[in-house]
């Protein structure tokens, strides 16, 4: 089952609505043939290859500059880093030819590493460095026209912001930042069509993917910190339940918007079942906010037909599920009971949905 509609399906829907002339399809075919000859097909795994290759190249370049300048010249690192970032952003705007793009990407990543190393030495302040990195990444996000770098810049900016939030050693601030990431993610997905029409259309895909990965990854780290066995951080602990409830509200809001878009009453049986299930999930996993957060990402991904995001949501949901049962302070026997019980609840819910809302009653007319 292909999740996204094809061009033909979109064109025929537009024709049915009287928005397009009957001869639109042959013209679209001609236009697509011309586009296909010039446009680049770059699926996600090719972008991963591009990004990985650029990282490898950047590692060698960092070694080169390290050997050339010596490791003590922080001002040279800082200035060279800025020059490399600025120059590569400028070059990338002039030409998107593949070799030049790859060269720019590698040098830009090197520039960011040199900038970070130089700034850390000059300021001798973790917050100052994080703020500098945040500003640089935001500048690159807006001015460097390349999807791979925009993805990396968003991830870098989000991590720098989390690092800044952690500096006062109050974990509630980190939780607030994570909740902010979640809110932004839900907003970007729910209003995807509107954002795609605007000037920032090119930013949407790299920003959403990077934000989702950093958000869920950082949430996983936050849960480990809460467990306090593998990782320990200084600072006042904050109850994870507040974050869980905040994320639950966002997920329930998204669910309500989806229901509205599907023409289903939120206050009806179907709406109440969905919202009650989400609420119950959040209440049962108060110390593992990732479960409800992953459920939210899963809903967003299916809502906007993004297969890669769907895979990401499933992977994190399973990961947070494992963490949830690991966190339970129970014997193996009691954990077994909890696992069996929750599994049966989910299977029961499925049965309820299938019986209460049979296939014929949900077919779109």
């Amino acid at each position: 089952m292909a999740l996204k509609p094809s061009l033909r399906e979109v064109l025929s829907r537009l024709r049915e609505q009287g928005a397009l002339a009957p001869d639109a399809e042959p013209r679209a075919m001609t236009a697509m043939e011309a586009y296909w000859r010039s446009a680049a097909a770059t699926p996600w795994y090719v972008r991963v290859l591009i990004g990985f290759g650029a990282w490898m190249a950047a590692c060698f370049l960092i070694g080169f500059f390290g050997l050339l300048l010596g490791l003590r010249d922080e001002m040279a690192f800082f200035i060279l880093g800025l020059i490399l970032c600025g120059a590569t952003a400028g070059l990338q705007r002039i030409s998107s030819q593949i070799f030049l793009s790859q060269l720019c990407l590698a040098f830009c990543l090197t520039g960011q590493a040199l900038f970070l190393a130089g700034l850390a030495e000059i300021t001798d302040s973790a917050s100052g460095t994080a703020l500098g990195v945040l500003l640089l990444e935001l500048a690159l996000l807006f001015f460097y026209p390349d999807r791979v770098l925009r993805f990396l810049a968003t991830a870098g900016a989000a991590l720098a912001l989390l690092f800044l939030a952690y500096q006062p050693r109050i974990l509630a601030l980190v939780d607030l930042t994570l909740a902010g990431f979640a809110a932004l993610l839900h907003l970007l997905f729910l209003h995807q069509a509107r954002f795609q029409r605007g000037r920032g259309a090119e930013l949407l895909s790299p920003v959403t993917f990077a934000l989702a990965i950093v958000f869920l990854g950082a949430l996983l780290g936050r849960c480990f910190v809460h467990l306090g066995r593998e990782f320990r951080l200084e600072g006042s602990e904050s109850p994870l339940a507040i974050l869980t409830l905040g994320l639950a509200i966002m997920t329930m809001y998204t669910a309500a918007r989806v229901l509205q878009e599907l023409g289903i009453e939120v206050s009806g049986t179907a709406g109440a079942t969905v919202l009650a299930s989400l609420g119950l999930t959040a209440l049962l996993t108060l110390n593992t906010p990732g479960v409800i957060a992953s459920a939210g990402v899963l809903a967003l991904a299916f809502h906007r037909r993004s297969v890669v995001m769907l895979g990401l949501g499933v992977a994190f949901l399973v990961g947070f599920g494992v963490l949830y049962y690991y966190d339970l302070s129970l014997s193996l026997l009691a954990k077994s009971g909890a696992l069996l019980g929750s599994g049966l609840v989910l299977l029961g819910l499925r049965l309820f949905i299938l019986r209460r809302f049979p296939a014929a009653s949900v077919e779109v007319p």
Partner: protein
Amino acid sequence: MTKDLLDLDATPERLQALAAAGVLPPQVMERALELAVASPPRAWWRRFLSTTLMGLGALLVLSGVIYFFAFNWAALHRFGKFGLLMAAIAAAALTAWHLGERTSGQFALLFAAVLVGPLLAVYGQAYQTGADPYELFLGWGALILPWVILARFGPLWLFELVLANTAAILFWDQVLDDANPTALQLTLAALNGAAWIAHELLSYRQVSWLQGRWLPRILAVMALFPLMIATEKLAIDLEVEHGPLQVLCTALLCGTLAGMYAFHRRVRSELFFLTLGAACVLTLVTTLVGHAVFDIMPDVMAFLFMPLVLIGEIGLVVLWLRHEARSRGTEDT
């Protein structure tokens, strides 16, 4: 097997191209973007919820059963343990039989197949059989094979293959302690490669349940990875440490890469396989060039030259992939 260009996914970039060509006027473009990201119909949501709840529910129940037997409850007699497990297996198998080829039926059979493992483990625990763990996995795989054949369900076949891989790795580790590791890599590549070829042959013959592309992609990675380990070791050491088998692995890798390209050109356009093959070639070439560069040049120059090599390689690979995608009309998913 190339796709009609209008059957490609309606991505914003493609809709933008249609707008730029004047096919979609600005006011229609807005509507087209909305249609492209509109929420799937209710029936799809229902199926999505049903599959997700069933998958997660089955996973949780299975984990619960495994935890229960891992607890090794002393108060429960061994016959009680056997009885519980066998009742669960029988119930799952009967449910699968009742539900037939529906997804829920296939999940029920997967559930039964997974439970055979704990049953064998409890048997080994109760009677202190002294069997090696590889025998458990081998027996597990052999016992569930009839179900796997009957189920016609990709995840169950993958599970069977994972069991076979695990059994082979444990056998090498526990029985053939000092054996040539390349022989294991070759065995795993042959096993996974055979599964991959079988999948492609059956898929080509239009076997309906093998039309998805996620399984052959995983099988391709599982077949190439062991061959790459052996060949990369050869490229790093620059000497044949593990005898002719290592050379055979390299030859097999080259043959597989050539086969993947021929498959892409003649049977089915598949950019993922090309990318996977390109990543293998790129890794090997970079390793060999790295040897030469660091031998010939001073370190500073080598550190400058290597990224240029990498950038050139990636650039060439991306250019080639785009050319192949354009010439074959490959869907970029």
